[in-house]
Symmetry: C2
Subunit: 189 residues, 2 copies
Amino acid sequence: MRLLEEKIRNEGRLLSGNVVKVDMFLNHQLDVTLLNEMGKEFYRLFQKENITKIVTVEASGIAIACMAAQHFHVPVVFAKKVESLNIGQNVYSSEVFSFTKQKTYKIRVSQDYLSPDDCVLIVDDFLASGSALTGLIDIVKQAGARVGGVGIAIEKGFQEGGQKIRSQGVRLESLAIIESMDDQQIIFR
Amino acid sequence: MRLLEEKIRNEGRLLSGNVVKVDMFLNHQLDVTLLNEMGKEFYRLFQKENITKIVTVEASGIAIACMAAQHFHVPVVFAKKVESLNIGQNVYSSEVFSFTKQKTYKIRVSQDYLSPDDCVLIVDDFLASGSALTGLIDIVKQAGARVGGVGIAIEKGFQEGGQKIRSQGVRLESLAIIESMDDQQIIFR
């Protein structure tokens, strides 16, 4: 998606350790107009999949998921990362390792909000190692629901996540795939 | 806002300890159509305040903030709750006590995304003790920005938060104010 690639190129900041900082529009400050265009693009890509729910994980996935959901006219369900007093006992859960935070955490979705009747579009802001995404797919499968597709904003094409997920036969579409990057420039696939 | 009150009455579940569980539409599963109506209502209420940014705190505030931002045509900035490797050193921060989770945590906003030129609408899903809101107001003031108003989805009118914030001269509008509740019924102000 050219609009997103240009935004990354013009405003993103390249940090050491293969980090591209996009928190000026994607995961701290949110450019809602851009997010809505991204949501529209996900709809264009997945509109034939009979999506009934959009699933993401807190926190930065929520904004993109909501914008996309407006076009699909379906609810969003976001997996929670921390144990909450109010989520109840009946949950699907999976373990995720965060490289950014260097720790393992559980993600959880209440069993009330996913069922075998659901066809789910999973949405997230970043795909690198694929750990969060693997956890979300695991949760959707625990519910007996179908993964209708996965929509990612920015995929780091030089890490293994995309390959890992696509090799499972899941339809994965990333709006921008970074083929390579160093501290000087960024090349999109 | 009648639509929200009806939704709470029809779908919300009253739990012991003055908890109203609304995670079927507001903070786990998200009814995006309803959230958009709420965003529209915040716009109606605050459109004359020259809002330049909407500020909230992760995670459940993000959805409402984004929906509102579409009507104001301004960016969202969400305060982060946990130390992240990528947020950088230059942050405004404040301490918040969560009664739900029974712990104190820090919330942080990068100094890049709030400035003295900003007039901020603070948005959140719940107002009870007012701890999170007080932290957000503190952060906006640290930035030298103006609090143009506060928009809350559900205020627990029987707790002290609303009174505390309004007595500071802040314009606080809640779309539904629960006057009293027990495990049988809920009465709105």
